[in-house]
C-alpha cells in the first residue's frame, strides 16, 4: 500500500496535472468548496422563501426543496450532463457538470439548515428589530441572518463534508477528482484494487474526520460564546 502511495501520490493529489487536467484531491476539494459557495445565495433565498408569509413564494420553494431532497444526486448529475450542453449550447466538461448538479442539490439541503437556524432564533430577536421600526430586509440582513448563520456553522461544515463525499459520484461522468484518480491508478496496476481503493477510503476518511472534528470544535466555541446554550447541529 505504501509503495502504491509512493509511486502515485502526485496522481492522487493533483491528477494528471501538469501534463493533463488538474484532478485528484485538489479538484475534489475545489469542487466541494465552489459548489457550496455558489449554492449559498440560492440556499438563503430558498430558506427565506420557505419562511415567507406569502404563499406564492412559500409553496414553490417548498416544492423545490422537497423534490430535490427526494431524488438521488446521481440523477442530477445525469441531468446536468445531458441537459446543460443543450442549454449552454456547447460541450460542458465533467467538472462544470458536477458543480452544476451539486449546486442544485446542495442548495436544497443547505436551505433546510439555514431555515432551521432562522427558526431556532428566539422570537424576541425579530420582535426587538421590528419594534425599533426596522423593515423586513434590514431585520433579515442585520439581525436574523448573522445570528442564524453563525449558529449553523457546525451544520454547514457537516454539509461540506457530505459534499466532499458526494463529489466522488463525479466518477460516473469522468470528472477528474479523487475517485477518478484512484480508478486511473487501479487501471494501471490492475492487480491491487483493494489497496488502491483502501488508500482512497483512507484519504476521504482523514479529510472528513478532520472536518467533522472542526465542526465539533466550532460548536463548542459557539455554545460557550452564547453562555452555554448548545448550538444546533443537523446531521448531514
Amino acid at each position: 500500500m505504501l509503495e502504491i502511495l509512493q509511486n502515485n501520490w502526485l496522481l492522487f493529489l493533483v491528477g494528471q496535472y501538469p501534463h493533463g487536467p488538474i484532478g485528484g484531491l485538489v479538484m475534489t476539494l475545489f469542487m466541494a468548496l465552489i459548489s457550496l459557495a455558489l449554492c449559498f445565495p440560492f440556499a438563503i433565498g430558498l430558506a427565506l422563501a420557505r419562511l415567507s408569509p406569502y404563499r406564492w413564494l412559500r409553496l414553490p420553494a417548498t416544492a423545490i426543496v422537497h423534490t430535490v431532497r427526494g431524488l438521488p444526486l446521481v440523477m442530477f448529475i445525469f441531468w446536468a450532463y445531458f441537459v446543460s450542453p443543450l442549454i449552454i449550447g456547447r460541450a460542458v466538461g465533467g467538472v462544470e457538470t458536477l458543480v452544476i448538479a451539486l449546486v442544485v442539490y446542495e442548495a436544497a439541503y443547505l436551505s433546510e439548515i439555514i431555515r432551521a437556524g432562522i427558526e431556532g432564533l428566539p422570537k424576541g430577536q425579530t420582535e426587538a428589530a421590528t419594534s425599533l421600526g426596522l423593515r423586513y430586509w434590514p431585520t433579515t440582513l442585520k439581525v436574523v441572518l448573522p445570528q442564524a448563520l453563525h449558529n449553523m456553522l457546525p451544520s454547514m461544515v457537516s454539509q461540506f463534508v457530505s459534499t466532499i463525499k458526494e463529489t466522488s459520484l463525479g466518477y460516473v461522468i469522468s470528472a477528474h477528482e479523487l475517485t477518478f484518480a484512484a480508478a486511473q491508478v487501479n487501471n494501471v496496476l490492475l492487480t491491487q484494487p483493494f489497496e488502491v481503493y483502501g488508500i482512497l477510503a483512507l484519504t476521504y476518511f482523514a479529510l472528513c474526520f478532520a472536518l467533522t472534528s472542526l465542526a465539533r470544535l466550532i460548536e463548542r466555541r459557539i455554545s460557550a460564546g452564547r453562555g452555554g446554550t448548545p448550538g444546533i447541529t443537523i446531521a448531514a
Partner: protein, 242 residues
C-alpha cells in the same frame, strides 16, 4: 396620545382582551397590574401591532394604527418597547445594538450614531460597557442597554413589558431607577410590572386587569383603599402574602 377603543383579541378560541378601552395622555405614566394571563402584556403589544386585534381600535394621536396608509414602521420608531427578556442582539456590542437603528432608520453616519449611542449609554450609566457583548453583561445591565436602545430613537412613548421580572432582586433597582428618571423627565409611559412600589411612586393611574378586562382603575393613593379598588386591594394582599 394613545387610545384603546373596545379592543378585542383572541388567541384561537381564547379571548385574551375583552372590550378594553382607555386613554393615556401625553406625559402620563400608566401602570398595568394583574395576575399573569390577564392580558397586560398583550394589551401593550397591540400598540405597535406586535399583536393584531380582532375588534376595536388602537389610536395614536388620533390615527388608527391599523389604518390604511399608516406606515407602521415609522410609527414603531415613535414608540419604544422594552421586553422582559431584553432581546438585545447578541451578535452586536452594547453600542452596536443602539447604533443599528440610528444608522438604518435615522440615516445617521457611523460617527454621529456612535456619539448619540454613547450619550444614551452614559445616561443609563453604562458608558464603560459600550464595547461589551451582551452575553457578558448582567441582566440589569442588559435591560439598561435595551432601554438606551429604545431611547436613542427619540420615542414619544415608552412601553415596558415586565422589564424587571427576569432580573435577580439586586438588579431590579437599577432598572427601576432608569425608568423613574424617564418618568420624571415627562416621558409618556405604559408599564406592565409587578413592582407595586414603583407603581405607587410614579404612576398617574394604575389599571388592574383580570381575564382580559381592565376591571379597576385608580390613582396610586387609592391603591391600598379596599373600598375604592376592592379587587386590586385583594390582589395586592394575595401577592404580598405570596
Amino acid at each position: 396620545m394613545i387610545r384603546f377603543e373596545n379592543v378585542d383579541k383572541w388567541f384561537g378560541p381564547l379571548q385574551v382582551l375583552a372590550d378594553v378601552s382607555g386613554e393615556v395622555g401625553r406625559g402620563e405614566v400608566k401602570v398595568l397590574v394583574g395576575p399573569s394571563g390577564s392580558g397586560k402584556s398583550t394589551l401593550i403589544r397591540t400598540v405597535t401591532r406586535l399583536e393584531k386585534i380582532q375588534g376595536g381600535r388602537v389610536l395614536i394621536d388620533g390615527a388608527d394604527i391599523a389604518g390604511r396608509g399608516l406606515d407602521i414602521n415609522r410609527l414603531r420608531q415613535r414608540v419604544g418597547f422594552v421586553f422582559q427578556a431584553y432581546n438585545l442582539f447578541p451578535h452586536l456590542s452594547a453600542l452596536g445594538n443602539i447604533t443599528l437603528g440610528l444608522t438604518k432608520l435615522r440615516g445617521l453616519s457611523k460617527t454621529a450614531a456612535r456619539e448619540r449611542a454613547m450619550e444614551e449609554l452614559a445616561r443609563v450609566g453604562l458608558a464603560e460597557k459600550a464595547n461589551e457583548m451582551p452575553g457578558l453583561l448582567s441582566g440589569g445591565q442588559k435591560q439598561r442597554v435595551a432601554i438606551a436602545r429604545s431611547l436613542a430613537m427619540d420615542p414619544e412613548v415608552m412601553l415596558f413589558d415586565e422589564p424587571t421580572s427576569a432580573l435577580d432582586p439586586e438588579m431590579v433597582g437599577e432598572v427601576l431607577a432608569a425608568m423613574k428618571r424617564l418618568a420624571a423627565g415627562g416621558m409618556t409611559m405604559i408599564c406592565v410590572t409587578h413592582e407595586i412600589g414603583f407603581a405607587r411612586e410614579v404612576a398617574d393611574e394604575i389599571w388592574f386587569m383580570e381575564a382580559g378586562r381592565v376591571v379597576e382603575r385608580g390613582r396610586p393613593a387609592e391603591l391600598a383603599d379596599s373600598d375604592a379598588c376592592p379587587r386590586l386591594a385583594g390582589f395586592l394582599r394575595r401577592s404580598v402574602r405570596n
